[in-house]
Symmetry: C2
Subunit: 332 residues, 2 copies
DNA sequence: CCAGCTTATGTAAGCGCTTACAGAAAGGCA
DNA sequence: TGCCTTTCTGTAAGCGCTTACATAAGCTGG
């Protein structure tokens, strides 16, 4: 950190331009000169300052990622896929969580000043700042959000898989349903799941809000729902965490799942697989979502592509014990 | 991004020093002058370049975090606690995953050049580079690692809680045990857990390695173990993921948990709580670990403290159904 | 040996911002 | 009004690095 390119140049008896060229391979350097420079670099343990390089290059070699909170396994998996690809592409990853924070506008803006592009989950960055970043030409990729002009969007399919799930429940013979975890915003992921399910089940399903999409809120809402006189036969949950909460409520109320009540989730997080009964759910390719987002962002940053693109990744119905008995049911 | 401090100065009819002073509050500025500057800033939508500021200040206002992989919920929770505090302290968080990567030495070194201090999980950064970073005076906090001269270390307590767990299993009446997920390195977390358990159970427990500390490896090792003639009555697992794998193996082999086999984990991740039977485990204060690490690193960076410190956080035995029946057992 | 071309190297100008220090301006008091 | 003190402002020098362009050095062929 203390050694600068000037000291290397002095020790090697060359100019700083020659040191730079040697280290970066950006121009011709005589073999003897090269040796002298590398020797000096090694003796002085010189590492170029990231700040100096970035300022001179006019680029950060870093990507930002804005997410609501990491406590949901969903975000973790996406982040992991993203970080892996970003690293392969030689980019650091700077993270920012916005949930519960004040001055989000300032936080995101600061982040934008440190990176070459941003990936943003849904609506976690303020809309006015998003509009400004788009105007400024900042490369942006949004995950789990409706298409936005001037930026890439990437999401998993919701509607068709929701339909498939609903049809499957009908095949089990259920006729009374509830959707636990009502949509907060029109057009977001949960809304699409709701719309898909409702397009198949019609008036046979009602939406029940949860305060948040968490285990605890799912538990509370399910407990209330399951104590009412007219109990649904099956609960379709917005996501796996809410579904885990519903399982807890059923357990507490002595309702056998799936014999007395069916429960489904969405995401296929680890806890969904290890719950008993294991949750029927829709598997989201979360890591691939992150990886694709990182690649898309790289294209925008390098200029390999300058027209925004909107992608939808395939999801998959995963049948397990929580929705009913299946002849060839997988054990886990 | 395109607007520089020079344009603001020109528009406001003042020097760049005055613009800087106005925005940073680092010196006296006449009220009228201040208004002119702020007006120009707003009209031009000027945001100071993070790079310029950092280079001139000689600091990044960012912390780095090096971890093996995010796929374990443990790391996620620590990271969340860390990011929350770092953000409060005005620091961005730059992440780097090292598992499965080549040139880790270079990756960590690049990261070190972008931040004011680093938090490192265990041994995920190469030892020679760690020694160099210590020599250079870089602020370092290690999590889950034995004390290291020149840097802070922070870990959760292992040995006493492992003893408490072992004693509890003895109280259930078990007399034959296995430790699933043998230690890889002397002195690391899993080794301390093993040592603690063995100090109570002595020759009644044997260590069984798993290739990795994952559900899949735990499943494979447990399946092999449980098919052998001399089956243990209780399996103490290195961590919750390995324990979840052991539960899967027991389920597949038709062994009732806890009646025919007891299983315990470590960490208290979400999936451990939602498994059935719910896992008896040791709760690690993972978020607090991350939060404390971020605060410790801040003290080192700001110079509020310059002597390394070694902290151990308390862990807690959490009794659930997987180790046996308890008179007042919590439902979840 | 000379001319022309290619390879190698150094100088200077930035990239965007902070701030020490010197000087100017303003205010207060005798 | 003059002097002294305080407040305000601008200039210049960096922070560490990259690189365009000009020049020097080296090599090859006639």
């Amino acid at each position: 950190m203390d050694v600068t390119i000037y000291e290397v140049a002095r020790r090697a008896g060359v100019s700083i331009a020659t040191v730079s060229r040697t280290l970066r391979g950006t121009g011709p350097v005589a073999p003897k000169t090269r040796e002298k420079v590398l020797k000096a670099v090694e003796e002085l343990r010189f590492t170029p300052s990231r700040l100096g390089v970035s300022l001179a290059e006019g680029r950060h070699a870093a990507n930002g990622i804005v997410f609501p909170n990491l406590s949901g396994p969903y975000y973790t998996e996406v982040l992991l896929g993203y970080e892996e690809v970003a690293s392969e592409l030689g980019r650091s990853v700077v993270i920012l969580s916005t949930k519960g924070r004040t001055r989000v506008h300032d936080l995101v803006k600061d982040l934008a000043g440190r990176v070459d592009g941003l990936m943003v989950f849904g609506h976690t960055a303020p809309d006015d700042l998003v509009a400004e970043l788009v105007r400024m030409g900042m490369p942006l990729v949004f995950v789990s959000r409706e298409p936005l002009a001037g930026a890439d969007t990437l999401r998993s399919e919701n509607t068709e898989s929701a339909r498939a799930l609903a049809r499957h429940l009908l095949e089990h013979g259920y006729r009374r349903f509830a959707f636990l975890g009502a949509p907060i915003a029109t057009g977001d992921d949960v809304d699409e799941r709701w719309q898909g399910v409702r397009s198949v089940l019609g008036g046979a399903i009602e939406a029940v809000p949860t305060e948040h999409y968490t285990v605890e809120c799912g538990y509370q809402a399910a407990r209330t729902l399951l104590r009412a006189p007219a109990r649904p036969q099956a609960i379709v949950c917005s996501d796996d965490e809410v579904a885990l909460g519903a399982l807890l409520a059923a357990e507490e109320l002595g309702l056998a799942v799936p014999d007395e009540l069916a429960v489904t989730g969405w995401d296929d997080i680890m806890a969904a697989r290890h719950a008993r009964p294991a949750l029927t759910t829709i598997r989201q390719p979360m890591r691939e979502l992150g990886a694709r987002a990182a690649r898309a962002l790289d294209e925008l940053i390098t200029g390999a592509r300058d027209t925004p693109r909107h992608l939808v990744l395939t999801t998959e119905l995963v049948l397990r014990a929580s929705c009913g008995h299946h002849p060839q049911e997988e054990p886990r």
